[in-house]
């Protein structure tokens, strides 16, 4: 049995058990936690920072930080939200420092994706249009949407990513960002409205 397949078996263990094993110095449990969450953390960071290289580095830093401090983790919160809190805070700090919030040129993307623009318009305009899930898999459309997410203000972008992409509950987002649930709702509402505006701008 390869290491990777063993890890995947262990992923079925709950977080609390894996964390306890990590706290006892079990390196395999550490690897399990990484494999279990690496894609989700990587995707969340990528959507926030909009850069593949940075996302890879920040993901690595996040896991290093979390595992370094695993002994200070107390079970009064969930490991999942703690991990995302570290990831989001680390990413936001990094983005602030490096001024890398500006995404790729939106105009350039639009210019290259006329077909995709039409698809988005079709999906949003009519309930009988193509299935959004299918449309979203198209590479050019994906680029446009991700770019538009990158146009949002940082605080709105993070909430939108955590809710609509990572599919966290309001309570989990509140715990990750350490804000009130009401604030999460209002930020999410504004983020979606703003994204809608941006989409309309692109489509007209």
């Amino acid at each position: 049995m390869t290491n990777l397949s063993r890890h995947k078996d262990n992923i079925s263990l709950d977080d609390a058990t894996l964390v306890r094993q990590c706290q006892n110095g079990d390196l395999e449990a550490m690897s399990c936690l990484i494999v279990k969450y690496q894609d989700r953390i990587y995707n969340t960071i990528l959507k926030i920072c909009q850069n593949y290289d940075d996302a890879a580095e920040l993901t690595q830093d996040t896991f290093v930080k979390v595992l370094e401090n695993i002994n200070s983790f107390r079970s009064n919160s969930s490991f999942y939200t703690w991990l995302f809190r570290v990831a989001v805070n680390h990413t936001l700090n990094y983005c602030k420092r490096r001024f890398k919030l500006s995404p790729l040129s939106l105009d350039a993307e639009i210019g290259q994706g006329e077909g995709a623009r039409g698809k988005i318009a079709e999906v949003l305009a009519s309930p009988d249009g193509p299935d959004p899930a299918v449309v979203a898999q198209q590479k050019e459309l994906t680029k446009i949407v991700i770019n538009l997410i990158g146009q949002l203000q940082q605080e709105y972008r993070v909430v939108l990513v955590l809710r609509d992409i990572e599919q966290m509950t309001y309570a989990e987002i509140a715990e990750v960002l350490q804000i009130e649930t009401g604030t999460v709702k209002s930020r999410l509402s504004r983020a979606r409205a703003k994204l809608r505006e941006l989409l309309e701008t692109v489509l007209t």
Binding site: V135, T142, V145, K185, S186
Partner: protein
């Protein structure tokens, strides 16, 4: 539609999109939809927008991520850069210490300010021209020789420098009377009081006439004392002449004398006379003094009207000599 209403509708639609709407919100949406069918389309567009985001492809993290994290952790472990339990405990202790220090500072600062304010309110209106302020906390126990040895050059220039000791079995009463007299004679600003376990001390540095007034006012306590001794610190400042059973007139005479040489001489005479149980300093003193070419007529105490006329303490008059008298009240050994 005003801005607030639009935001409320947005939040309602968002709750519906996220399946978080309450029964009341759903009813509200139905009511709104009846009046404005476009709101249904808006909700549908929002749902589809969400589905697009939901369906965005998941990017895979770099395959080597787990290995890289492990190698970074191992490297940190080897270099001792890994924040283990010891560091956590040390950090917690440091934080605790800092909190304690901060709390202490927060308590001490207002206390200090309060003390300063209280001191400002309670302290005397002005500080008199005290020439000598002893820093020794045990003045009452101070040995006379030590006192003489510690006499400064300024002290040596004083015309008269003496220590008047009242030994009494009514120490409290005598002390209170001296204190009252010091106050009545407006000498409070010339006086540095001090207390110890066995003595009360008043260090007075004042013009001779004020000392004279004080001593005359203190005559009443002589009968209350088993022994009254005057130690005259001589010119050299390193030894003293002791006059046992000294009389108030003798103290006054010495205090009024300007010439240090004469003070020493008179003190010697008084000491001798008192030793021989002569209560009056002899008439022949004058002739003896004349023999050595000094006008030694002792200035006997004269009744004078002093005190009460000065309501405000006055600093010593420019050019007027200042004498120092330390009054000690001790419990009698007898």
């Amino acid at each position: 539609m005003n801005e607030n209403h639009r935001i409320e509708i947005d939040e309602l639609l968002n709750d519906l999109v996220d399946d978080q709407a309450t029964q009341r919100q759903e009813t509200e949406f139905k009511r709104l939809a009846e009046h404005d069918p476009a709101i249904v389309d808006r909700l549908e567009a929002m749902r589809r927008q969400k589905r697009i985001l939901n369906a965005l492809p998941i990017e895979s993290a770099p395959a080597s991520l787990a290995e890289e994290v492990s190698s970074v952790l191992e490297r940190k472990l080897i270099l001792g850069d890994f924040p283990g339990d010891e560091q956590t405990i040390a950090g917690a202790s440091h934080l605790f210490l800092r909190r304690i220090m901060t709390t202490a500072a927060m308590l001490l600062l207002p206390l200090g300010l309060l003390s300063f304010v209280v001191y400002e309110i309670m302290r005397p209106a002005s500080v008199g021209p005290a020439i000598y302020v002893s820093t020794d906390q045990t003045l009452a126990q101070e040995d006379l020789n030590n006192s003489a040895a510690s006499t400064s050059s300024l002290d040596r220039e004083l015309p008269f420098n003496g220590i008047l000791t009242f030994s009494t079995d009514r120490q409290t009463a005598v002390s209170n009377y001296v204190e009252k007299t010091v106050f009545d004679e407006s000498l409070i600003n010339y006086t540095v009081p001090n207390r110890s376990a066995d003595a009360t001390i008043y260090q007075i540095s004042a013009p001779p006439d004020k000392i004279k007034g004080l001593i005359e006012s203190l005559e009443k306590i002589w009968p209350l004392c088993q022994a009254v001794t005057l130690n005259v610190v001589d010119r050299s400042g390193n030894k003293a002449i002791e006059i046992s059973q000294v009389q108030s007139e003798q103290v006054v005479a010495l205090a009024l004398e300007n010439d240090r040489k004469m003070i020493d001489h008179l003190a010697g005479q008084y000491a001798l006379a008192n030793e021989n149980e002569k209560t009056l300093y002899a008439q022949n003193e004058s002739s003896e003094l004349r023999d050595i070419g000094l006008d030694a007529s002792p200035r006997l105490a004269m009744p004078i009207l002093t005190g009460r006329t000065e309501t405000e303490p006055q600093p010593s008059i420019q050019g007027q000599p200042t004498v120092r008298l330390r009054i000690q009240i001790r419990q009698s050994d007898e």
